[in-house]
Symmetry: C2
DNA sequence: CGAGCAGTTGAAAGAGCTCAAAACTAGTGG
DNA sequence: CCACTAGTTTTGAGCTCTTTCAACTGCTCG
């Protein structure tokens, strides 16, 4: 159940058996959410956090008039709302984009970890800092990269993140999102997403079809994306 | 020296005298940086973090071709690179936009805090989560808000953040940045920043002149900004 | 078979960009 | 005190990327 979560953590640090046990023992229950359902609502008081076990979820911020921006995509193994432990409520919704399974961890357990397992606490601190690093890269994309580079960047990032948790097959992976959702993610309209997708396909580096991303030329893709994986902190360190 | 830092922390939680002392005792030295100088370079290994004591700094990400995006502005009292403690190196530069003073805190002291003062550790964890929340709001701005709302939003955010540390006078505050820098912050060109500034001024809500922001109609400004301060987490809670 | 999404296409409008020049500021040195 | 420089702000004109709006296709599923 938490295997992908541990894979993700262990890419960046060593996790002892004691720590692994503490994590596994922290799960109160497993919940399921239908695709396109809001799992956590912004401003709602939280006393637990959840790890995404399967499916694709996201953090989404809405504006009054219906416009909305997805600020991060979550893949299996990600702690979707670990930050609610110190924030107490979220500034955004958590939305299950496809059918999802979540492992629920009560905040009291996290508190216990900060008091008894300081190294694991730092690993989790790191995990939230990694989310922030992803946010910063997306700010760069949204602020400075034209649509094709922005989209190519997203496909690169997801390839790396999904590869870590064993969800890629060669250079392709499932991404069962609509172009509409992709638009919310990239700060574009769905029409423009459609055209940009065609452009990328015509360049022969990536293809997005029937909910699956296929990268045919990784070098070419990273070039159009100006992709530098540094912000994903892929080195193992003692945190 | 750290008064503003403590003011910022105490808006969100109670900080005991013991914790305050631990913070003050953690400062190894005070350094100064000239305006427009890079203080920390991306990918550079860090063994200390710094609190901004005075001046305006920022986190900036650069692209090969010279385009760059500021992902957050830092005001006095902010821990500019607390996240380098768990990240080990930064994915962005830290740039002093004006002359700045910094208090230097060695990582080993932060480690000590995580092992002996778990509550303070959680407060600092919270502080990095607050940065992430600001990043998310900026993603929303960059992705979905047209230039005037985006700019108005920034002026609102800075008003609140500077007010917390006592750096506002009525509804105005110093912001000695060029329009060029503002453009890097807002994901716009300096030409468009200039025109948007004129538009906002003509609407009579804000004015940005000679490095000073003057808000003449807070209600009006928050309306054009679609500003909701929820993401700044202004409530005091036990973290 | 029809309803309802998701994806695709076309045409026109608009927000923001580029390039280039002019006007303003403030500091420097004669 | 004035000329000179460098940096910043302002303005104009044309252009591009992205949006908007609206229609059309195709697929899936009851």
């Amino acid at each position: 159940m938490l295997d992908k979560h541990l894979m993700k953590l262990r890419v960046r640090d060593e996790i002892s058996l004691e720590e692994e046990t503490a994590i596994r023992d922290s799960v109160r229950e497993i919940t399921t959410a239908r695709g396109r359902s809001t799992v956590v609502r912004a401003h709602e008081r939280m006393d637990f956090s959840t790890i995404l076990v399967s499916g694709i979820a996201c953090r989404r911020k809405d504006l009054e008039d219906g416009r909305s921006q997805i600020t991060e995509l979550q893949v299996p193994g990600d702690f979707t709302d670990l930050h609610s432990f110190s924030l107490k409520y979220l500034d955004h919704d958590v939305v299950a984009l496809t059918q999802c399974k979540f492992a629920v961890i009560p905040h009291e357990r996290l508190k216990w970890i900060t008091e008894h397992l300081p190294h694991l606490a730092r690993v989790y601190w790191f995990a939230t800092n990694l989310d922030a690093a992803i946010h910063r890269e997306w700010e760069l994309s949204l602020g400075r990269r034209p649509a094709p580079a922005r989209m190519a960047n997203l496909f690169c990032e997801l390839y790396i993140r999904l590869n870590i948790v064993g969800l890629t097959t060669g250079y392709s992976y499932d991404l069962p999102l609509t172009q509409e959702t992709l638009a919310e993610t990239l700060g574009l309209t769905s029409v423009h997403v459609n055209r940009t997708l065609q452009l990328l396909r015509s360049e022969g580096n990536v293809q997005f079809d029937k909910g699956r991303v296929t990268i045919s030329d990784w070098e070419g893709l990273t070039a159009t994306a100006e992709f530098d994986p540094g912000y994903l902190y892929l080195e193992r360190e003692t945190r």
